[in-house]
Symmetry: C2
Subunit: 195 residues, 2 copies
DNA sequence: TTTGATATTGAACGGCTGTTCAGATAGCCT
DNA sequence: AGGCTATCTGAACAGCCGTTCAATATCAAA
């Protein structure tokens, strides 16, 4: 048959993805060459093509994997009983998850334009699915009368933009601890939705 | 002496900057070649070097110009009497100005990493100066007792991230008019600062 | 030890990169 | 009309690009 245990492909594949993500996030997709990625893994450039059909697909797999992880992780968060509770969960989850994967988040916002139309649409759909999770919470809170907002779609986009902004400036060991940041943003979001 | 009226350099220079901004915003700095920029203007690549010492400086001039314009435009906005009035002015100004220059805004957020340390620091300082304008308003509102926010620096960054997010989705002729969007965001910001 | 698939190398492909510069072109000024 | 200079061309430079592929190394299974 074939080799099983110790097969290099089970190690090399993930390492390629890890190094590619690091380099793409650091220098940008177009600025990183396949030879640089290969060198970071300790390979020649040709070997990368055992693991990806081309450079764009390598990027797509990173973005797709990130969005899948994001949706799966949010699905695992226990749903609170009230819209207010679910909104708080969402705020804390989004900040925490995105900070844990800063490079992947950066890529997902910056390198979409390097995808072909089909791949672009696929990522866009996942992004929209995530946005819909938040919008459903806002609509529920609106229906119950607890939230007061003029437009649930705009509120969704505004809140996500605001929360994702944390990634730009937050640094471990900085002025504020993660828990404090979560608290402050939750306070602002809660007020913004009128609850 | 030299040629004055009708001199091509007074036309070619701005055209190079315009086309470079368009292409950089569309495809990314690293993905656009000097030959592509030259072709868009109707020149050979060599001619660009009459107008910029190198590619990075061309990018820097675009980013610097945008930040200078931003700060100058904000300085021209009449200061309202109260912090609440000044905050409203800022919200409306930021949304409107950024939408009018979507490409420059996109560049300023995405291509900072292609700058050398000195150029990067110069842009960062201008960005910080702009943030300080908003933070001063928030602090004044806090001192007066009209605003209620746990951290003025975080509120500054959160509000700017939220407002800049409009650029991602807003399209002329879409579901909502610009004036309506301004209204909705102002409502959310006002609530978020507890006023 | 042989077999045979897996995993990788290293060279090659045509083409593009940022930048330089000698030479051609064009248009204002005298 | 002639001279001067700002403006631009076109070729060249050394080097890197994504991708392909025959040849080779590695190692589990037989």
């Amino acid at each position: 048959m074939a080799r099983k245990s110790g097969s290099h492909s089970e190690i090399t594949g993930p390492r390629i993805r890890t190094e590619a993500q690091r380099l793409f996030a650091r220098h940008g997709f177009a600025a990183v060459s396949m030879r640089q990625i290969a060198a970071a893994v300790g390979l020649q450039a040709g070997a990368l093509y055992l693991y990806t059909p081309d450079k764009e697909t390598l990027l797509f797999d990173l973005l797709k994997g990130h969005m899948d992880d994001l949706l799966a992780a949010w699905a695992r968060v226990p749903a609170a009983a009230t819209p207010l509770g679910r909104l708080e969960s969402f705020v804390r989850f989004h900040i925490r998850f995105n900070l844990e994967r800063a490079e992947a988040v950066f890529l997902s916002y910056m390198e979409l334009r390097n995808l072909g139309p089909a791949n672009f649409a696929a990522i866009e759909n996942l992004r929209r699915a995530y946005e819909n999770e938040l919008e459903a919470i806002l609509r529920a809170g609106q229906a119950e009368g607890g939230f007061l907002l003029p437009d649930s779609k705009l509120a969704t986009l505004a809140i996500i933009a605001m929360l994702t902004g944390v990634n730009i400036w937050f640094r471990e060991g900085g002025r504020l601890a993660l828990a404090t940041v979560e608290e402050i943003y939750w306070d602002m979001v809660r007020k913004a939705v009128g609850a």
